[in-house]
């Protein structure tokens, strides 16, 4: 089963949000999914309705009972990376440290280029989140040093927080579509309800069932599923 690496060269663009929503979407479609939070911010769990003070098990700790929320197994990878254990695990020649039976989705902090680089060879797909803002667009030059961004075959882009009422947002979407074609795999519109749902510790589908992000996220999940060569085991209820 594939590793989907979620990393953006710029922070604060919604990588963690999309990691969580992708994991939930794939689980809803019948896949076995693990979501690993490799970040110090430890925010992935919030998108699963957990409180900031609640801890999720370390990925290298076999003694702690796992946490599964809406079909997604939640793990923390931060401590393992900091201790060097994960680096040693992944450095074993010819071996992938990931359970071959599950889809693993990794949330990697933007500043953690070393981890991103070490995970990339093991990844079926690299998901790079962008927002229609100059700092994010300028960081297109930083996605993978040494390779022109439009030549990245393993990388797909999601344009997050699109706002069609704003000129630069509309133009950015058109520009990126022309630049990347189908590698701009999805666009997700901006909806403040996402933040409000998070602050309420509620899933967005319950807090705001008419939110515009929901069909966008569903389309993103289906597109990524197809890109990874996966087939849904079950279709989600309407």
């Amino acid at each position: 089963m594939p590793l989907i690496l979620c990393h953006s060269p710029v922070g604060g663009v919604g990588t963690t949000f999309l990691t969580a929503r992708l994991a939930l979407g794939l689980a809803e479609r019948g896949h076995d999914v693990s979501a690993i939070d490799f970040t110090h911010a430890d925010a992935l769990k919030l998108f699963f309705g957990m409180l900031p003070a609640q801890e999720i098990p370390a990925m290298t700790d076999a003694t702690t009972e796992g946490i599964v929320v809406d079909g997604v197994e939640l793990l923390s990878g931060y401590a393992a990376v900091q201790s060097g254990a994960f680096g040693r695990l992944i450095a074993r020649s010819g071996a992938s440290p990931f359970d071959s039976e599950r889809i693993v989705i990794a949330d990697v902090a933007s500043a953690d280029l070393a981890l991103k680089t070490s995970l990339l060879p093991h990844a079926a797909l690299h998901l790079c989140t962008l927002v229609p803002q100059p700092t994010s667009l300028a960081a297109l030059a930083k996605v993978q040093p040494g390779t022109p961004t439009i030549d990245l075959e393993q990388t797909v882009f999601v344009l997050n927080q699109v706002d069609d009422t704003r000129k630069l947002s509309r133009h950015s979407q058109i520009f990126l579509r022309a630049l990347f074609g189908d590698n701009l795999i999805a666009t997700v519109r901006r909806d403040e309800a996402v933040n409000e749902a998070l602050a309420s510790f509620q899933p967005i589908a319950r807090y705001a069932k008419q939110s515009v992000v929901l069909p966008d996220l569903a389309a993103m999940t289906i597109a990524i599923e197809a890109r990874c060569g996966l087939v849904a085991a079950t279709e989600p209820a309407e």
């Binding site: 300028a138 030059a141 022109p148 961004t149 058109i174 022309a178 630049l179 929901l214």
Partner: protein, 97 residues
């Protein structure tokens, strides 16, 4: 159609509503200097001498952009070349219809 719009129309009994096909949005795109800078950045688009190689769907537009860059002066590169890029988008959009 957005689900909230669909729900509202359903409540109003307007079930035959269809979105109108609006004009080509390319005409609305301004030549933002940032876009021009990205199109000139080898880290994003690669080297100009590779413009004819097989690439993602943007290859035609990038080839047009590289040709315009080679002919224009440095002071004209950004705006004029980006307009050529956007013009290429518009032409391609027209051809696809």
């Amino acid at each position: 159609m957005r689900p909230d719009a669909k729900a509202l129309l359903a409540r109003l009994g307007q079930r035959d509503f269809q979105y109108r096909q609006f004009a080509d949005p390319i005409a609305d795109v301004e030549p933002w200097p940032l876009f021009a800078a990205l199109l000139e950045d080898e880290r994003v688009v690669g080297r100009a001498d590779r413009a004819t190689e097989e690439r993602a769907p943007a290859k035609n537009f990038l080839s047009d952009y590289d040709d315009m860059s080679a002919r224009g002066g440095s002071g004209q590169r950004q705006g004029g070349s980006l307009r050529a890029f956007l013009s290429g988008l518009s032409d391609d959009h027209t051809e696809r219809r």
